[in-house]
């Protein structure tokens, strides 16, 4: 996913010119806007945005400081603006497609804010905007691509980390899905920070917490997930809670620390650290103590996964 962030902003983009094509260009000076219609294509510093139509809005003129002696003259919005004025934003509507390097994004609307140096992609209420990089797909309510840095912010992200969790050849391909209220991608730190109502799903495992940091290596492969602030993990009938949960993508093991507790059909285990192997369902508890109720497991077809205190 870091590659996802990297390709979004190959380089810090200066406020360079925007090249465009369209079928027609209608200028409305009094409305301080220009309408582009039909096969609209905008390009700037390696980023190409296409759509059905676009509106170019010009910024209000600079307001002079108020002159108390004189009657203030209305300026700004009342001044007609044609081309050659400072731009405020481009709004592209209809089948919006963004290409930057290897990465693509699609949505119903894209708003390029010249002052904020952002491109905000949203859906149409039915379909969410989508960001793609190879096999990885990121959707969310709102995708904010920063043009002057390499950061991406996503509101209500829904992320599938397929390539980031390499599977054994004989193991089923289980994508890791992440949902949260907000996601910030920081390429310089190789970090994806999920906040507010984070939910991670992989196979039958569901982990919830208030925030999570995903770390990547230089090739963009996920190395670790760090959940903090109170974590709950569920896998079938098994439930575990702790202050922290660290997921190692290489070993595919979750390590719970900070008063970890494991609840499994009547068993309650407490320890300093609880490690869960997601593939084998094996659990290791360090300095364990707790209560075991073997009778609760009599109906299990196979022996319970090994518990190694």
């Amino acid at each position: 996913m870091i590659a996802l962030a990297a390709a979004l902003a190959v380089a810090a983009a200066p406020a360079g010119p925007v090249d465009f094509t369209a079928q027609t260009m209608r200028m409305e000076p009094r409305e301080r806007r220009t309408l582009l219609d039909g096969s609209v294509r905008l390009s700037r510093d390696g980023m190409v945005v296409t759509g059905d139509r676009a509106v170019v809005e010009f910024a209000a003129d600079e307001q002079p400081p108020p002159q108390p002696q004189r009657k203030a003259r209305r300026r700004g919005r009342d001044e007609p603006a044609l081309l050659g004025q400072k731009l405020e934003r481009f709004t592209v509507d209809g089948n919006v497609h963004v290409q930057r390097g290897k990465r693509t994004a699609d949505g119903a609307r894209g708003v390029f804010d010249a002052k904020g140096q952002t491109l905000v992609l949203t859906g149409d209420g039915k379909d969410d905007p989508v960001l793609r990089d190879g096999s990885e797909t990121l959707t969310g309510d709102r995708i904010v691509m920063r043009l002057d840095t390499e950061d991406v912010d996503v509101q209500k992200p829904r992320l599938v980390l397929r390539r980031s969790v390499p599977e054994a050849e004989d193991a089923p391909q289980l994508p890791t899905r992440v949902e949260a209220s907000r996601l910030s991608l920081d390429r310089s730190e190789r970090l994806a920070r999920f906040t507010d109502d984070v939910v991670v799903r992989r196979g039958d495992v569901v982990v919830r917490g208030p925030r999570m940091d995903a770390h990547y290596d230089a090739s963009g492969q996920l190395t670790h997930l760090y959940l903090r602030g109170g974590v709950e993990l569920r896998q079938g009938d098994r439930r575990a809670v702790a202050q922290n949960a660290d997921y190692d993508a290489r070993t595919r093991e979750v390590l719970l620390t900070g008063e970890p507790r494991l609840f499994d059909r009547g068993d309650v285990l407490v320890g300093e650290r609880i490690a869960l192997a997601l593939d084998t369902h094996e659990v290791r508890v360090e300095r364990a103590h707790g209560r075991l109720r073997p009778e609760a497991h009599q109906d299990e077809a196979r022996p319970a996964p090994g518990v190694k205190p």
Binding site: V18, Q23, M25, P29, P80, G84, Q85, K86
Partner: protein, 172 residues
């Protein structure tokens, strides 16, 4: 008439003035033909063209039907504005009753922070609506810095849009 100078007054102000090397006028029918016409326009404040300042228009040939308030300019029409804008098109038409200017040949225009090219245009005479048609290609500088003209390579948006269906301007 040879060596003609003219002025157009509107509400007590000079709205336009200019010269023509040669003008023939048939009073019966109001037919007017001119050669090598140069006109300076002074857009009224608050109109869509006001930000240009004085605009200088030139045309090798002009003709008009004053009775019906229609006319055209051809042979390579150019405009140059005090703000730094300039543009060319092969010919344009004036439709007085419709309050409309239009052109059906390639239009090239550039100015502070922009360059555009299209295959035609239509515009309200008061500048409230200007539409470039037939496929448009161009460049906009987001900062709109009026002192920052594009480098020479960008001055002419010479790329033909993929969807353009008309021929570019004839070589003069």
């Amino acid at each position: 008439m040879h060596g003609v100078a003219f002025a157009r007054l509107s509400d007590g102000r000079v709205a336009a003035r200019g010269t023509a090397r040669e003008v023939s006028y048939q009073r019966a029918g109001g037919r007017l033909d001119g050669r090598v016409a140069v006109a300076s326009l002074y857009p009224e404040a608050g109109t869509g063209y006001a930000m240009f300042g004085e605009v200088l228009l030139t045309a090798p040939r002009v003709d008009g039907d004053l009775g019906n308030k229609r006319g055209s300019a051809s042979g390579g029409v150019t405009f140059r504005a005090a703000r730094g804008d300039q543009g060319t098109t092969e010919r344009l038409f004036w439709d007085g009753p419709a309050d409309l200017l239009s052109g059906d040949r390639a239009v090239d225009a550039q100015g502070p922070g922009y360059a555009v090219r299209s295959q035609g245009f239509s515009a309200r005479a008061d500048g409230s609506d200007v539409t470039l048609t037939g496929g448009v290609v161009g460049t906009l500088q987001p900062t709109g810095d009026p002192t920052a003209q594009f480098p020479a390579s960008r001055q002419s948006a010479s790329r033909k849009p993929r969807t353009a269906s008309r021929k570019p301007a004839e070589t003069r």
